[in-house]
């Protein structure tokens, strides 16, 4: 059966990305802090229980049209696509609990763990995207980038539609607050397209660059492509 093998996978924490979230600017830091970050990574990995729910829908079908996702960006993403994929991933409430507990008992750990958890959920979303891309390409089709509510002109309120369509509360325990915060906090929802033709994919952020730790742009709080701005937006 199609897609049966795709599981929620948390495979690694990108340390550069963790440092990026922690506002790292190339300072030298002692081994104790390095060890502290490692310990926090371990705790987050132990507390995380990644879950995934997704659906493939024909773009022109009744079900997808009924969602009425707004904005030019989503239209552009799905132009030339035959199918849309709705996805939601979450690390589960264990991570939220870990963060709450540590923000009482050890704030520094809490901040580092928060960064680790943000990195972790990105990894889960990336892994799904990668697995699905492989599957889609095996069918001779192409997967677009993933696009989340709050990016570009897709309003945050689209979150509500995605969660309802995927029944995320029942399927993966992900719900929304009235102010559209996702609970558990470390969760991602997104839309992807499946097209007949390869579409250009977005550039990746600093955290995936080999020059990350010593980059002279980053040291001055800048970057080589305006990528930092994009990162900032994603923080919301």
């Amino acid at each position: 059966m199609a897609g049966k093998d795709i599981q929620a996978r948390l495979t690694e924490l990108n340390e550069n990305e963790i440092l990026l979230y922690l506002g790292y600017r190339g300072q030298k830091y002692p081994a104790e802090v390095e060890a502290q970050i490692k310990r926090c990574e371990k705790d987050v990995l132990a507390a995380a229980h990644p879950r995934l729910i997704w659906r493939r829908l024909p773009v022109n079908g009744e079900l997808f049209s009924a969602l009425a996702l707004e904005g030019k960006d989503i239209k552009e993403l799905l132009s030339g696509c035959r199918e849309a994929v709705l996805m939601a991933v979450t690390l589960g409430p264990g991570v939220d609990r870990l963060l709450t507990r540590n923000s009482v008992s050890n704030m520094a750990d809490a901040v580092i763990m928060d960064a680790c958890a943000s990195t972790a959920i990105e990894n889960v979303a990336d892994n799904f995207e990668m697995d699905l891309r492989r599957e889609v390409e095996a069918e001779g089709l192409y997967l677009t980038d993933r696009f989340s509510p709050g990016y570009g002109d897709l309003p945050l309120s689209a979150q509500k539609k995605l969660c309802a369509a995927l029944d995320t509360g029942r399927r993966i325990g992900l719900s929304l607050s009235p102010s559209l915060l996702m609970i558990p906090g470390k969760s991602v929802t997104a839309v992807l397209g499946i097209a007949d033709m390869q579409k250009p994919l977005r550039k990746r952020g600093c955290e995936n660059c080999s020059l990350f730790r010593d980059c002279m742009y980053r040291r001055d709080g800048k970057n080589c492509q305006g990528v930092a701005d994009q990162q900032k937006k994603r923080g919301g």
Partner: protein, 842 residues
């Protein structure tokens, strides 16, 4: 002894989708518009054999109906009427109630009390239009189920059934375990409970087996048609296979059956056939057993019809169970001969059952603790939560919660503290109060099953407290004293224990849930009493078969080097049968005794826990003792984030300097250096906060010293801080709080998702001159703006600073703030400026 079996219905959503319900459309509202479609589906279930129909009210509540133009009452009565028509007297109609759709505190923002109100409205609507019973299903949060069950029981007379949805791990999405569900809901007095949705029949087998160990109530099983295809959401299992796979559940002791997602009337028909076959087989089996009565009990145990003997007991949070030991030592001694014949493994299992020491942590209690009293008076939940975390880390199994202090509204504070504590630890709780109102408040707010501490032999106390214990299904501590005080002899204490058990049983509280406290008296005042206490413990445990509680540390009051007496008494008491010592788990020597005892008694199998505890210690001892603190200055210690060293150096400086001097001349300059390095990007965020944490150790020491001598708390000024309504991203606010506290400011932290009015109220009440607000999302900046507007409107002259990822200097000014704090360091500069100005004005 065949149990009465009940057949429920199957899936509704998929059936309605096939009949035209759109993706994301509300089924209950669809029912209002197309009653004939829903009736047709439900009638087909009755024809297939369903004896209970779930009305089409799964998602009906005020929260979900918002904006649909329908009221809860309209939707409930219409859909119950449809189900009644479909049932036509051949099936009962259940008011079907699902999750509210928004997560409860502490994970989410919906309060327990609000959830209760939402459910109460649905329950009243259902009861008034003639539902036969209420079923709460597909629940994943035990706290939400508790609100629902209380709402049902307090607003109707109808039977209440509950089912929750689990993952294969045996936990729900929010972490509720099968055991915790069973303990809590059996205690609350539901009429049946079980599992629905989640998984297919096969995957539910181990969960139903587990459930049987924890409850003697009828068990409900309502699985999905296997697992869904992730890409399409469709279920693969056929009706026939489903029916076959359901055959196992009657044997496991379940008695109420149905289908959930992906099932239809064919599945229910197949299920009904399976159950009829099982009935037939069982009838034959029973007939064959006539004449060989002796084997019946073991046979029944296998088939699950007799489960009483195996029933586990305990108290729990939603995610963690503290399992009570076996019923009594005497039983073990009596049976050991027989057990030895049948093999050693069984014997060791049996001992493990009987000897279970559960440590109750005593540190959340203001009695004799000035610093704790101060925290209660200031509503400083962080301090209390830290005490909870500390004890959990030290190995406590249960936490005692006592908030009784003159001038504090106890019931209200109990609710607040219980909620705060369970937001950071997952240990079961013991609600400690003599005020029935505070006890009820604590039991209600507790997410799980608690112990009540305590009742005593006084009739009046028993009559007031036991009904509350029964209502919430708690366990209860009985003190062996009464109007006449504490009897001097063991015999007289035992007599009181007997009276308490009898009273508990008369309220339907089983004796297994009564824990007797034979009372520890101070040997420096009444030396002979230690022996009497131990004598009473032995009798109560061995002869009466009851659990024993003792507050241990009182034994050594007034003596030097108390630890020796306390730990020795603890060991003796455990030998006599004390299984619930109330102690300070932070005292290493005391916990060492507990670990040693567990190894000696065999409870700690292969001494694994003992070895784990002390293997690390040996390595630590081998390492050369650090003499760094002696040579280090406080600036370096703070910069390096070394807590213990900072505390030691603070202690040292206090020998020659006043508290204020240590703060102003040592700790704050050290923090200034760190702040400066941070600003210059010589260090980054984790280092800044590590330094703040370390400085905190110094401040804590000073605060405790001042509180102990009853002095005014040192404060450079009060600041109210809050993460605004609708927002729960509070990590930034928490960083700022820690740093501001370290600069000597008293921060009144209102928490997250704080309503506008609550901020205004706190500012007016506490007369603060500075307020800090945080918001992380663009959607919640608007509520920040509202909070600022309300503060201005109140006429209070406080200054307001704001921070958060989406804010900028100009945005902050635009929404009316006085200051924008880009980080923690900036907020300190703002506080310095504001309070300098304030004091200058004076």
């Amino acid at each position: 002894m065949m149990k009465k079996r009940v057949i429920l219905d199957g899936g509704m959503g998929t059936m309605l989708q096939a009949a035209g319900l759109g993706l994301g459309e509300r089924p209950d509202v669809f029912g209002m518009k197309h009653p004939e479609v829903v009736e047709r589906v439900q009638r087909s279930y009755v024809e297939a054999g369903s004896q209970v129909l779930y009305a089409n009210t799964f998602g009906t509540n005020a929260h979900k109906l918002e904006g649909t133009g329908y009221t809860v009452e309209e939707v409930v009565s219409a859909n119950i009427a449809i189900a009644k028509r479909a049932a036509a007297g051949k099936a009962k109609v259940a008011l079907d109630v699902g999750p509210i759709g928004e997560l409860l505190e502490p994970l989410g923002m919906l309060s327990f009390e609000k959830a209760y109100e939402i459910y109460a409205q649905v329950v009243r609507a259902g009861a008034s239009c003639g539902a036969d019973l209420i079923i709460f299903e597909t629940m994943t949060d035990l706290y939400e189920v508790k609100a629902a069950v209380l709402a049902a029981k307090e607003n109707s007379e109808l039977p209440v059934w509950t089912t929750m949805s689990f993952e294969a791990s045996g936990r729900t999405f929010t972490g509720t375990t099968v055991a915790a569900m069973a303990l809590t809901l059996t205690g609350l007095g539901v009429d049946a409970l079980g599992i629905n949705c989640s998984l297919g029949p096969e995957e539910l087998v181990p969960l139903v087996e587990e459930l049987r160990y924890w409850t003697d109530l009828p068990i409900i099983v309502k699985p999905n048609a296997g697992l869904p295809d992730p890409a399409t959401g469709e279920y693969s299992m056929g009706a026939e296979e489903f029916g076959k796979r359901m055959a196992v559940f009657p044997k496991l002791g379940a008695s109420v059956f149905g289908g959930c997602c992906g099932t239809n009337p064919d599945f229910i028909k197949a299920l009904a056939d399976t159950l009829a076959e099982a009935d037939q087989a069982e009838a034959e089996e029973t007939a064959g057993e006539e004449g060989s009565r002796q084997d019946i009990s073991s046979e029944r145990e296998k088939t699950g019809d007799v489960i009483e003997r195996k029933l586990h007991r305990g108290v729990c949070s939603a995610s963690q169970v503290a399992k009570f030991g076996g019923r009594q030592n005497a039983e073990r001694i009596q049976e050991s001969g027989r057990i030895q014949e049948s093999g050693r493994i069984q014997e060791s299992e049996r001992i493990q059952e009987s000897e279970r020491i559960l440590v109750i942590g005593e540190r959340i209690n203001p009695t004799g603790k000035k610093r704790f009293q101060q925290a209660l008076r200031e509503g400083d939940m962080n301090y209390i939560m830290e005490r909870a975390i500390e004890q959990a880390d030290a190995g406590a199994d249960i936490l005692d919660i006592n908030v009784g202090l003159p001038g504090i509204e106890e019931a209200e504070m109990m609710t607040r503290v219980v909620k705060a504590v369970q937001s950071v630890v997952s240990l079961p709780l013991q609600i400690d109060s003599s005020d029935p109102e505070a006890i009820e408040a604590g039991l209600r707010a507790c997410n799980g099953r608690a112990i009540v501490n305590s009742v005593n032999g006084e009739q009046e106390v028993l009559e007031k407290v036991l009904p509350i214990v029964k209502k919430y299904g708690a366990a209860v501590v009985g003190l062996t004293m009464d109007k006449g005080g504490i009897p001097e002899t063991a015999e007289a204490r035992i007599a009181i224990a007997e009276r308490i058990v009898k009273a508990a049983e008369s309220y339907g509280i089983p004796r297994e849930d009564v824990l007797i406290d034979a009372l520890t008296l101070t040997i420096s005042a009444q030396q002979k009493q230690a022996a009497e206490t131990l004598k009473a413990v032995r009798y109560i445990r061995e002869v009466m078969g009851l659990h024993c509680v003792l507050g241990v540390s009182n034994i050594s009051f007034g003596l030097p080097e108390r630890i020796h007496i306390t730990s020795s008494f603890l060991t003796q008491a455990m030998c006599c049968g004390l299984d619930f010592p109330i102690i300070n788990p932070n005292q290493k020597e005391i916990m060492d005794m507990v670990f040693s005892y567990r190894a000696l008694s065999g409870e700690d199998v292969d001494s694994a826990a003992y070895i784990e505890r002390f293997a690390g210690e040996a390595a630590e001892k081998a390492a050369p003792a650090s003499s760094a603190a002696a040579e280090m200055d406080i600036e370096t210690a703070v910069l390096k984030g070394l807590k213990q060293e900072v505390a030691d150096l603070t202690e040292k400086h206090l020998e020659t300097m006043s508290e204020l001097e240590v703060i102003n001349r040592k700790l704050i300059p050290a923090l200034d250096i760190v702040g400066d390095k941070y600003e210059k990007q010589q260090i980054f965020l984790p280092q800044l906060i590590n330094a703040a944490n370390a400085a905190c150790a110094g401040f804590d020491l000073i605060k405790t010293k001042i509180a102990a001598r009853g002095g005014e708390s040192l404060s450079k000024g009060k600041i109210v801080m809050a993460t605004v309504e609708g927002d729960i991203h509070d990590i930034g606010k928490n960083i700022v709080r820690v740093v501001l506290e370290n600069y000597g400011y008293q921060v009144i932290d209102l928490g997250r998702d704080v309503p506008v009015e609550a901020v205004v109220e706190a500012v007016l009440k506490e007369e603060v001159s500075l307020v800090g607000l945080s918001a992380l999302m663009t959607t919640t900046v608007s509520s920040m703006q509202k909070t600022i507007a309300a503060l201005r409107k109140s006429g209070h002259s406080c200054k307001i600073f704001v921070g958060g990822a989406v804010l900028t200097e100009s945005y902050a000014m635009e929404i009316g703030a006085d200051y924008y704090a880009k980080d923690a360091k900036a907020s300190v500069d703002i506080a310095k400026e504001v309070f300098q100005y304030c004091s200058g004005e004076r």
